[in-house]
Amino acid sequence: MPITYYITLAIVLFCIGVVGVLTRRNAIIIFMCIELMLNAVNLLLVAFSKMHNGKALATNPTSLAGIDGQLFVFFIMVVAAAEVCVGLSIIVMMYRNTHSVDVNFLNRLKN
C-alpha cells in the first residue's frame, strides 16, 4: 500500500482524538482520546518501519532496517500503560473530592 494512505489514516485518527480532547468535558473520555492519538502515532511508526525495510530489502534480503520503529511502538505502549495507571488514579481521586469527572470543576487554580 502507498505510504500516503497510512499517513492520511493516522492523521485523521489523530485529529479525531484532538477534537475529542477539545470538545468533551468528561475527564475519562478526554483520557480515551489521548489513547486514540497514541495509537494513531503507533500505526504510523509501524507503517514507516515497513517502508524503510522495504527499501533496504532490495539490496539485502535479511535486512533489519526499520526495526527501530517497531521497538519504539513497544516502548510507547509501555509508557501508555504507566500513564493510564497514574492518570486513572488521579481521576478517581478527583471524583472522590468533587463527585464529578467534569474538567470544568477543576478551574480552582485560575484565581
Binding site: 468535558r25 475519562i28 488514579s89
Partner: protein, 167 residues
C-alpha cells in the same frame, strides 16, 4: 482490487467510524466499547503489515488491560448515566473547526513531502515484525531502555498506590 486492498479499506473505515463513535456517544461505557473496536481495527492493520508481535501486544495491552481498567473506573464511579452536564455548542463548534483545520494542514504538508511521494509500505515482505528478530534487537541493542522501563513501571505503580489510597 486485491485482498490486501479490500482489507485495508475495510479496517480503515472501521477504525474511523468507531473513532467517531467514541466522540459522539453520550454514555462513557459505549465510548469505551467503541474504542476497543478501534484497537481491534488497528491490530488488524498491524497484522496486514506483518508486524505480528506488535499486533498481539496491542490486543493484550490496550484492548485487554487498559480498556478493562477504564471500564472498572467508569463502573466504580457509576457514570453509566448521561453525565455531560455542560452544553456549550459554540465551544464544541470551535473545537471541531480547530481540529479540522489541523487535519487539513497536516495532510497537505505531509503528503506533499517528496520523500513519501512514491514510497510504499511493504505489506507482506520482510520478517522484522516477527518475535524472533524483534527479541534479538530488543535484548541486544535496546537492553538499557528495556531495564529503565521496569523502573518506570515500578514508579508508576507506587504513584498509583500513593495517589489512590484514602488519606
Amino acid at each position: 482490487m486485491s485482498t490486501t486492498a479490500i482489507l485495508f479499506w475495510f479496517l480503515s473505515a472501521l477504525a474511523l467510524l468507531s473513532a467517531t463513535m467514541v466522540l459522539i456517544s453520550k454514555n462513557p461505557v459505549h465510548s469505551i466499547l467503541w474504542l476497543i473496536i478501534v484497537f481491534f481495527a488497528i491490530s488488524g492493520h498491524y497484522i496486514l503489515l506483518n508486524a505480528q508481535f506488535i499486533a498481539i501486544v496491542n490486543l493484550i495491552v490496550y484492548a485487554g488491560a487498559i480498556m478493562v481498567l477504564f471500564l472498572f473506573v467508569v463502573m466504580l464511579m457509576n457514570l453509566n448515566s448521561d453525565s455531560e452536564p455542560q452544553k456549550n455548542n459554540r465551544l464544541r463548534l470551535a473545537g471541531t473547526i480547530a481540529g479540522g483545520c489541523l487535519m487539513l494542514i497536516m495532510i497537505d504538508v505531509v503528503r506533499s513531502a517528496s520523500e513519501v511521494q512514491n514510497a510504499t509500505a511493504m505489506v507482506r515482505e520482510g520478517n522484522i515484525g516477527l518475535i524472533k528478530t524483534l527479541g534479538k534487537v530488543l535484548f541486544v541493542d535496546y537492553v538499557v531502555p528495556f531495564e529503565i522501563t521496569s523502573v518506570l513501571f515500578l514508579s508508576a505503580m507506587i504513584g498509583a498506590v500513593v495517589i489512590g489510597k484514602k488519606d
